[in-house]
Symmetry: C2
Subunit: 222 residues, 2 copies
DNA sequence: CCGTTTAAATTTATAGATAATTTGTGATTC
DNA sequence: GAATCACAAATTATCTATAAATTTAAACGG
């Protein structure tokens, strides 16, 4: 039996590019040239174009009709927009998921919180944080809603990595613990309230640019 | 000057197919064969595949890796899911749009409501209904949010056309009027509350199938 | 009647051709 | 002499045409 090629080349390219954009290896506004990318992946430019379309749908790239596609840029306004959307949709998901939450799931979510608190770098903190959110939301069993939340999470992560690429300070996530506490006690309304506030929390941080001047970086921290 | 080719062939194909799926000309589960579609549009299959990717992102088609793409099917569960998502997101959009609403906009929205009440067929009712929602939400100036709402509206419309393809009874939209009333009086909380309830209202209707048996059809009516 | 093999249809990917946009160069004007 | 406009060349995206791989179906044999 040969190697099972479960997904298409276009999907593979799309995943790699998405990761590069989210982690900041590809900077906002950078041009994505299909021929170059095709060459890098040892493929032709047709699957590359299909990958572009997927990135576009996820909000990670923007395509101008006959002028090519660029990495999507963002500003504080868009950080806020994504935070608000996540708050609403995650609140909805938690309400629907609550009846199906087991103590086993909540234990796993607590473990994810601990893992996040012990994370020494942004990347692993983000991974643990996403695991927490997914764990308590997936039982809502609403695929379209979960897919939408997932896309927003990717964009959130991009903001996060943009602001805290290398320097990350350890902090304890009291919100996650409060949410779990309310869920264990069956107090859904408070759990949702904390979650929605939590996701809207936008961290702010001064960043020194190459010229010595400082600009403010913003990111959703939750 | 020649005909301005503002958008790509792929976008054009995508729009036409989306319309066919939404109006029910293409039934759920129907296979979309790229060569046939390419031939119909006098194009090759590359732009067709790109159109497929867009439809997939909108939730109108599903693609299995090497087995082609089909028109997305749906059930009552998904109707509910879309209704809940629309309720949350439209509520959010209205809250953000409220400070920017002018009496001129509200007048146009009222005109759209009247047009809806006078509509004799589903299609024109849907068009007027969508116009109403867009008018009061667009001033939120959140492009990603509005795009998400727009996609959900398309899916809503698909459910609607599926249930009431030909027989549509005229009805007066009290909810729209109540929303406008609250907005005019500056009572945002009540306006949002009515809107969220309004969008979650799922109409139900018995439909006679070819065999003589009856099944229930469902659709978001708002 | 069921499983295997063969053939047709269809998706996926490649390579090449076309069209449009951008960029660089040169000429003309102020 | 500097700046702007026009034109040309190169780069890049888009589409067509063709080939390879995979799935679906159909036929054959047990």
């Amino acid at each position: 039996m040969t190697t099972i090629n479960d997904d298409t080349i276009a999907n593979r390219i799309s995943r790699v590019l998405a990761d590069r954009i989210v982690t900041g290896q590809l900077e906002p506004g950078a041009k994505l040239r299909q021929d170059h990318i095709a060459e890098e992946f040892g493929a032709s430019h047709v699957p590359v174009r299909e990958a572009f379309r997927k990135l576009e749908a996820q909000g990670l790239a923007v395509s101008e009709p006959r002028r090519g596609v660029r990495v999507a840029s963002f500003d504080l306004k868009e950080v806020r927009e994504v935070a608000l959307m996540r708050a609403e949709l995650e609140g909805l998901a938690l309400r629907q998921a609550a009846p199906h939450l087991t103590s086993s799931i909540l234990d796993q979510a607590e473990a994810a919180t601990v893992a996040g608190d012990n994370s020494r770098d942004v990347r692993s903190w983000e991974e643990a944080n996403r695991r927490f959110h997914r764990l308590i939301l997936v039982p809502c069993a609403m695929p379209r809603l979960l897919a939408a939340i997932d896309d927003l999470h990717s964009v959130s992560a991009r903001f996060l990595f943009s602001a805290w690429r290398s320097d990350w300070e350890v902090r304890t996530d009291y919100d996650h613990r409060a949410i779990l506490g309310f869920l264990r006690r069956g107090n859904l309304d408070n759990a949702v309230a904390v979650l929605e506030r939590h996701v809207q929390w936008i961290g702010q941080k001064p960043v020194k640019s190459a010229t010595g001047s400082t600009r403010d970086a913003f990111a959703i921290v939750g």
